[in-house]
Symmetry: C2
């Protein structure tokens, strides 16, 4: 899902990315969210802290990027139909949420809510990437003639993400049923879009 980034003109070393991701996952498994520090990740990954901070401004952004998605995330490829595209994106969201234990997601959210600058960076970066992917899918559907106008990507995002997010964080549901839920959400949201139930962006 992630492409190599350019930093200062040098291609980013994907072995370092991989070492950081592996260290984050194993430390979260072993000690949980609260105990994770950038120092511990650097030591486990065998990289310098500077290598981490070149990639991620904070512990929270490092965890979010490793478990959910990074800032290079691309929209799913064109499947030829709005339903196919929405289903692919919904499966991706479900898979990403499945990477992060509920305890880790709750810890991340608590930190993001407690720090206004982190909150602003999170909304301006990671959420913007998700909404931009959705915008691309909707533009394709408009170009195909499946939709007369582009619905508001913010609303589409909350309709797709919300049920899967609540399923994982609040409802203690069996993860074996998550693919069934994702498929149902994709079908319902596609139908809502084509029937005009989701408003376009306010101007």
């Amino acid at each position: 899902m992630s492409k190599p980034k350019q930093a200062g003109g040098r291609p980013r070393d994907s072995r370092v990315d991989h070492a950081i991701a592996t260290a984050v996952r194993s430390l979260l498994d072993e000690h949980g969210y609260a105990a994770l520090t950038v120092d511990a990740v650097a030591a486990r990954a065998g990289v310098g802290k500077a290598a981490i901070y070149r990639r991620h401004s904070t512990k929270q952004e490092m965890i979010f990027a490793v478990l959910l998605h990074d800032l290079d995330e691309e929209p799913p490829g064109d499947t030829g139909s709005l339903h196919g595209d929405i289903a692919a994106l919904t499966r991706r969201i479900a898979d990403q949420l499945a990477q992060a234990a509920a305890e880790v997601m709750v810890g991340l959210l608590a930190d993001i809510h407690a720090d206004a600058s982190l909150d602003a960076r999170f909304s301006g970066a990671y959420l913007a990437v998700e909404r931009s992917s959705i915008g691309t899918l909707l533009d394709r559907a408009v170009a195909r003639g499946e939709l007369p106008v582009r619905p508001d990507p913010v609303l589409v995002h909350v309709l797709l993400l919300g049920p899967l997010f609540a399923w994982q964080l609040m409802l203690n549901e069996d993860s074996a049923r998550t693919p069934q839920l994702a498929e149902m959400v994709a079908r319902i949201v596609t139908e809502a879009l084509t029937s005009g139930a989701v408003s376009p962006e306010a101007r």
Copy 2:
């Protein structure tokens, strides 16, 4: 929304309920979730701790009952149509979520995830009440002939709650748009129910 409970045959004193609720709200506003204790609520409300523990087993259940709903919550009254009933329930969910600051919801979720017995009690009690309300609405729609079979209340619950929950907890969205979102969710879920997109309970 709450009816007086009977405890040991005595009608519950609603002045005590009110004093506890007021104390919880003001202490959360003043000092936040982490600092709230049953002791502080008892002192502020001018009641004994026993009066609180007769009503709520833990701090978390006290906060959940005060801000979201208690175990006496009834389904919305019959509006005469599935769409009317779903819209009333969705507005109620949106209003309840608006009572709890995101920081408080995240603190509650963190505590619930960290304690298996609290988690089990929460699912078995508060979630069961929500799903039972939804079951009542669906039974009415089946009785009216609006639905041929009763869809799974667990799925209907996540479809209604999820977008509003994610809107508040993750997406930093303008609460002025929440009523618009609630209305849209109610419309989309009603349409999904009548078109058969939501599976019945597995047997």
